[in-house]
Amino acid sequence: MDLYKVSPGPESFLPPAAAKMGNVLPDPGQGHIGGTIVPEEEAMEMAARKFLEGKVPTIFPGPLVLWHWNEKAAKKAKAIRALADAGPFRLIPMADYRPKYPKINPEVEINPNHPNLTIWHNEIDVCIFVGVHCHQANLSLKIIRGGTDCYTMAMCAQAGHEDACLSFRDATVEKIERLTWWVNKLKAEGVKSQAKEFTQFKHIPKWREAEGN
């Protein structure tokens, strides 16, 4: 069977699951780019490069890193914030998975049931999922691939995601920091961030204004 290449969409009305097309998840120490298994470092470098090339590079942190449910989660959250600052990259949270009615506010949140709304609204062209439960991440990745042209990446704490254009697995604090290291390395080598200027949040809380943030 030929390799099913996982590329940015819009792919189709209902794109297939990459696993059904024969794509296999990476083993420990590996990642995948477009469905091809590569060494993890290669995937990390490519992720950093894609992020710096993006006009609206965005990190989607999920509940596993947004909530302080254990010490590791808190450490990961700090590492993700450092990654966001290194770009800088936007942070749009996927705080939970509840269907939002009558509609979400795509400016400040993303939801696995209709993630394309957030991508379209903010014109996000590169994104990375981190701390999202695997099932919900795969739902989002397929829907984004189906209807948008966003390049998707997934930093997974478990086995990785075939439905992302790029993914690596077993994401620890150290691996998140390694990705930040790659971003800083490429910037030091002269790769300039193509990101449009942005304000992280539409409304800056008064207490942060007072602090001068």
Partner: protein, 412 residues
């Protein structure tokens, strides 16, 4: 496929667990799965299939078993009750019906428990609504299906028709030929189904009575080891949370909102379940030494089957060999995921292929015909059903008739 999984590798990338090396409440040592299956010395026993199910559960560190009587699984369910009395199982109780049992299993699994149950025939069908619910909720529950007849008039005898109803539920479906298969499939089934990238329910099927109520030689693990505990924190969905999917999906399903994106979400959800079944190949191939077994696969005539139809075919092949007719054998171990590539490759040079089955519809032959390009060479049969045995001579007659050879009529 960009990466071949090699059966010889015989290693599963299993979840690590902090309790590996520690003892459970019965002083059994939680053992790393690769060591558990390939490193620990086994003991040979002469057991019925029901005793085999009990022996497997004894070393599975199972949290919850829900029972309901229906032949031919009742004995196994009762024997597991003895394990509960001895302290090997966290909780054990009788449900109000098979439908209730499967719902109770879901509740326990949502709460993060390793859950096992058994059912058969009409019980499987009565519980049916729950199986796609388990899969959609990513619950790695294991149900042992001891197949029997499902339709009126009543039959408690072996028949594999019920397996055809399970095919598209989103569950893993493995079909044991022997008591040894049954023992290994139950234990390995827990590990594969609980992998974070798989995490769907598994039906370990065997042919009722032929396997459950006959004695066979089985190599089992000693009682002082057990599987590592199930780790619900590696689940691809949050544990029981009434505000989040999948639980919330059941009380506030997005399908109720009539617009395209909600339907697309449901479609993507279904795709993800079937993708999870596909992902199980990577873990199953090294563990089961491939999804199929091949004996003399280079022959022009092949028999392909699953369950005890394979045992009957093996004897038929011996009888045919005495008459100078050489036939090869292919045993299918996993029905879901179905071994498409493996079967296509194994049948590509065969001139005639027989698919003996213990059901009237020939669902396995249909599965095979759907994936083989020159499928006019597939002969769906012989079939028996409703508890009939399949004497090896019946397979011999089928083969010889198809080859245009003289056959002696079998007297009933």
């Amino acid at each position: 496929m960009n990466k071949k999984v090699i059966p010889e590798d015989r290693k599963i990338i299993s979840s690590t667990h902090v309790k590996i090396g520690q003892k459970n409440q019965k002083d059994q040592v939680h053992t790393e799965p690769n060591e558990f299956f390939y490193g620990v010395e086994r003991i040979t026993k002469f057991f019925t299939g029901s005793e085999v199910i009990q022996s497997a559960i004894k070393v599975s560190h199972c949290d919850v078993m829900v029972a309901y009587p229906i032949t031919p699984q009742s004995e196994a369910a009762a024997l597991i009750g003895e394990l509960f009395a001895d302290g090997y199982i966290g909780d054990y109780f009788r449900g109000e019906s098979e439908f209730a049992v499967m719902g109770q299993c879901a509740g326990a699994a949502f709460g993060g428990a390793r859950v096992f149950t058994t059912t058969a025939g009409p019980g499987t069908l009565r519980a049916m609504e729950n199986f796609p619910m388990w899969a959609g909720s990513r619950l790695p529950i294991q149900v042992c299906v001891t197949c029997r007849g499902v339709n009126s008039p009543l039959s408690i005898q072996p028949d594999t028709l019920e397996m055809s109803y399970l095919l598209e539920t989103g569950m893993l479906i493995w079909h044991a030929e022997t008591a040894q298969d049954l023992y290994d499939f139950i234990l390995k089934g827990f590990i594969v189904a609980e992998q974070p990238d798989v995490h769907v329910p598994i039906a370990v099927c065997c042919d009722g009575f032929f396997v459950t109520h006959t004695k066979d030689t089985v190599d089992i693990l000693p009682d002082d080891v057990c599987l590592p505990p199930y780790d619900p924190y590696k689940s691809p969905v949050p544990c029981m949370d009434m505000e989040c999917p999948p639980v919330r999906m059941m009380r506030d399903p997005f399908i109720m909102k009539s617009n395209y994106i909600h339907y697309a979400t449901h479609a993507s959800w279904q795709q993800e379940i079937h993708a999870a079944v596909e992902r199980s190949r990577k873990h199953t191939i090294p563990f089961l030494d491939g999804l199929i077994d091949i004996e003399n696969g280079d022959r022009d005539i092949l028999i392909i089957g699953s369950g005890t139809a394979v045992s009957q075919s093996r004897e038929a092949i011996r009888l045919l060999e005495l008459e100078g007719i050489k036939v090869g054998l292919i045993k299918i171990k996993t029905i879901r995921p179905f071994p498409h590539e493996e079967v296509r490759e194994a049948l590509k040079n065969a001139k005639t292929v027989f698919v003996p089955e213990f059901n009237i519809v020939g669902w396995l032959a249909r599965e095979i015909k759907a994936i083989v390009p020159d499928n006019d060479k597939i002969i769906a049969g012989p079939h028996v059903a409703g508890g009939m045995t399949m004497p090896s001579e019946v397979i011999v007659v089928e083969v010889k008739t198809a080859l245009g050879l003289n056959v002696e009529k079998i007297k009933m």
